[in-house]
């Protein structure tokens, strides 16, 4: 696309303008809530920790403290590097996504040439904290090659920016392609779920292999590593070894290989941008839902209306559906990882699932978005809001845990013996207790600790500045969720520590009571908090909506 004759010749400055815009938006996001500042500080600390950790490890490897590793480095680096870049790309799709404010369509009215715009967005990504952290870490990793000679060290310094650039280009291309192949809401939802399941599966793969004693001889990996070293994702990791071996032609070819991939990814992203602009979505069809749906099945009250509304929304919200994939996934992973441990290990999946089910509800008002204002306009009582929310989640959690338990019974076969049944029901009760206690905690969290979320229409996008908060605040909630099940945990520890293992079914009533008490407490306290903070929540949601624009 050529610029019109009358367009000011500013295109060379445009990429840097986009970089400045990225940081201006990040700084603006800091002002949305004090929690954002806390999250940013933690994110910076995490980044500093990564850099320092990499530096220390590189120093240890490079100074011979771990020189046993040296012969394996040419095998490890291309394989681990390739996996790492793929992991980062999936992570981008899952959690970070293409930044909504910095997405291409936002700049469409300005007539910026595709290539310039693409370059600007790429540079904006490369100047972010994750990219800078990765760059510095990879540069420090050069110390690991000290034993390979000065040329290897210098080559790693060259490879570092190349690796980061490759990862960024691949991620951007993946998201651009994802955006055009999933142009219907259902397609987006499916893609979102698949990406996350793939991500968790990749993360768990080493565990599964180790536990199932799938051993791989290092020697057998050498030819695989050679192949990966010549593939574009592994190529930049080979530069130090090429330099160490004096194979400068290979060095140049590896650089070219990585650069070629970057160029292809750049062109793919650019083509996707062009395609999106020139093709209207054919998949958009009006959704028809006859009757009142859930509204006719919930109690005839304001809280019933809230339950119905929330239930209807949850069915169509890919962002929150993940929380109901995870528990099933846990069970499957734990079943795969279970080797001679016992069926209780699989039931642990059901137990942990209890905690995850309310993870998104801990930020539920942010997922509702500005629609929450309807309740404020109507003067809805805070307790009606909390009751309505709790009702629908209680139904979902109970049904889900019941179904998950059936699946787990089939996997473990625990239904066939009285002891198996007793153990299973202890886990089921503990899972339900934890799920509802966590729900109580979530009802306190979601009106006091909010963080921005992507919009429902664009689950892959990222409100500027969300990354840091999203990493930190769910963690805070999970800690509180852990604390909520402490009474049950203490009783379980006492039972087993005092040698009364046979009395473990007593955990069942304790867990159920624990869950109900924390649920009631959380609902009541949440209502009190919401009543006090209702208008503040509206203001916060308004500021989040501005970030999603």
């Amino acid at each position: 696309m050529s610029a019109p004759a009358t367009q000011p010749a500013t295109t060379s400055a445009t990429p840097w303008t986009l970089v400045r815009l990225r940081w201006a938006l990040t700084n603006a996001a800091l002002k949305t809530s004090p929690w954002q500042i806390v999250a940013y500080v933690l994110a910076y600390l995490l980044a500093a920790g990564t850099v320092v950790g990499t530096g220390v490890l590189a120093f240890a490897v490079g100074h011979g403290m771990a020189h046993d590793v040296w012969p394996y480095l040419p095998v490890i680096m291309p394989l681990a590097g390739t996996a790492g870049i793929l992991f980062v790309a999936l992570l981008q799709a899952m959690f970070i996504g293409e930044n909504s404010t910095m997405s291409m369509d936002k700049f469409a009215p300005y007539g910026i040439p595709d290539r310039t715009l693409q370059l600007g967005l790429l540079l904006a990504g490369l100047t972010g904290i994750p990219a800078i952290t990765a760059l510095v870490s990879f540069m420090l990793w050069a110390m690991a090659y000290r034993g390979f000679g000065a040329a290897a060290v210098a080559s790693q310094l060259v490879a570092a920016p190349l690796i980061v650039l490759t990862a960024m280009c691949v991620s951007k291309a993946l998201l651009a392609v994802a955006d055009i192949i999933t142009d219907s809401q259902a397609g987006k939802n499916i893609f979102y779920v698949v990406v996350i399941v793939l991500f968790v599966a990749l993360a768990q793969m080493p565990n599964i292999l180790m536990i199932n004693e799938v051993s791989v001889e290092a020697a057998s990996l050498i030819p695989v590593a050679r192949v990966f070293g010549w593939l574009p994702l592994g190529a930049p990791f080979m530069l130090p070894f090429d330099a160490a071996n004096g194979q400068w032609l290979f060095w140049v070819l590896h650089v070219l290989c990585a650069l070629a991939l970057c160029a292809v990814c750049f062109l793919v992203s650019q083509w996707c941008l062009h395609w999106q602009r020139t093709h209207s979505s054919d998949a958009v069809r009006s959704k028809v839902a006859k009757g009142l749906g859930l509204f006719s099945r919930m109690p005839d009250s304001p809280s019933g209306a809230i339950s119905a509304r929330l239930g209807s929304l949850l069915r169509r919200d890919a962002r929150q559906s993940m929380m109901y994939i995870m528990p099933l996934f846990f069970v499957v992973i734990f079943a795969l990882e279970n080797k001679d441990i016992g069926s209780w290990f699989v039931w642990m999946g059901v137990l942990l699932g209890g905690m995850f089910m309310s993870l998104t509800e801990s930020n539920g008002l942010a997922y509702d978005g500005q629609g929450f204002v309807m309740e404020v306009i109507a003067g809805t009582r805070a307790i009606d809001d909390r009751t309505g929310r709790v009702r629908i989640y209680l139904i979902i959690d109970t049904v889900y845990i019941a179904l998950l338990s059936v699946i787990t019974f089939i996997i473990t076969g625990d239904w066939s013996s009285p002891s198996g049944l007793a153990g299973a029901f202890t886990f089921i009760a503990a899972s339900w207790g934890w799920a509802v206690a966590s729900l109580g905690v979530a009802e306190m969290f979601n009106c006091s600790v909010l963080y921005p979320v992507p919009s429902m229409a664009k689950p892959f996008t990222n409100p500027q500045g969300r990354g840091a908060a999203q990493a930190f605040l769910p963690f805070l909630y999970m800690l509180a969720s852990l604390a909520s099940i402490l009474p049950t945990a203490v009783v379980a520890i006492v039972i087993f520590a005092t040698g009364n293992g046979a009395a473990y079914p007593w955990i069942i009533p304790v867990a159920l009571a624990n869950g109900v008490v924390f649920l009631c407490l959380g609902t009541w306290l949440g209502a009190k908090l919401l009543r006090t903070r209702m208008l503040k929540v509206v203001q916060t949601l308004d500021s989040f909506a501005a970030l999603q624009q």
Binding site: Q7, L292, V538
Partner: protein, 285 residues
């Protein structure tokens, strides 16, 4: 939650006989005073237009009046009820039209209106019956079972208005209700609102479209810099002139065309160069 108030002199007391009575309403955001001691009476059964330039304080006033924003000072009274003494009681008397981004677009039109009714404590059957009537009145019957996210901007405005009317409030507060609505729908909505006013209801609309206010409203208040600069019947405020002209006289800010030299699309085929500025910000020529 009610703002702390010193005792008011009698002249500053709100008038409980009015549909809306505001006295000395004040709101500051940081260093900016958005509403600066605004006082206003809106008679019951009036069709009241609230007009003013951007940033005049109209939306802030509406938000404080409807319980969405706590004022820093002053009193807002709805049909004799102090809004901030019992904010939820006041909200039950008001029908505030949500903005299109303040609804749930993945509900169908029917579900959304029923939701608004049930939130107000209406029995489901009655909410559903009223929703059906409102949807028919707004010509949305064919789209009743379609998700609101698939509605056009005008249809969305109409469904927002329906959610504000479902509980038959005595005061309707509508922020730019006719924006994006086609002329036919506008006329139909206007008929509904006029009918509503004839039953003793009060409509308060905020708008920038002076012609619309002049045509529809019985009363108008011009707000500028957080204060009411003129209020009364449309004829009183217009004072024998065209309302738009009168509005411009009251709020000022008009100036001659700027005649920006470079705004000629680059007549010679070249963009006009930017004028460099000195560090002090003075334009160098």
């Amino acid at each position: 939650m009610a703002p702390v108030q010193a005792p008011m002199p009698p002249a500053m007391q709100p008038n409980p006989a009015m549909a809306v009575s505001i006295r000395g309403l004040f709101k500051r955001f940081g260093n900016k005073v958005a509403v600066n001691g605004l006082s206003l009476d809106i008679p019951t059964g009036s069709f009241y237009g609230l007009v003013g330039p951007n940033g005049a304080g109209k939306t802030t006033t509406i938000n404080m009046l409807t319980g969405l924003l706590v004022p820093d000072g002053g009193v807002a009274m709805i049909l004799g009820h102090n809004v901030w003494q019992d904010v939820n009681a006041a909200k039950r008397l008001i029908g505030l039209m949500p903005q299109p981004e303040q609804i749930f677009p993945t509900l169908t039109g029917m579900q959304l209106v029923v939701y608004a009714g049930m939130l107000r404590g209406m029995p489901r059957a009655e909410a559903a019956a009223r929703a059906k009537d409102l949807i028919a009145a707004f010509d949305l019957t064919a789209a009743a079972n379609i998700m609101v996210r698939d509605y056009s901007a005008g249809m969305t405005k109409k469904i927002c208005l329906a959610t504000a009317m479902i509980h038959s409030p005595r005061i309707l507060v509508l922020d730019e209700p006719f924006e994006s609505v086609d002329p036919v729908s506008s006329a139909n909505i206007k008929d509904i609102l006029v009918d509503y006013v004839h039953t003793g209801g009060t409509v308060v609309i905020s708008s920038h479209v002076m012609a619309l206010v002049e045509r529809m409203c019985t009363h108008v208040a011009v707000v500028n810099q957080g204060q009411v600069v003129a209020a009364g019947t449309v004829a009183q405020v217009a004072a024998g002139e065209d309302l738009e002209e009168r509005f411009l006289q009251l709020v000022g800010g008009r100036h001659g065309a700027a005649h920006i030299a470079w705004l000629d699309g680059g007549a010679d085929g070249q963009p006009a160069p930017a004028v460099p500025q000195t560090p002090a910000g003075e334009v160098r020529r």
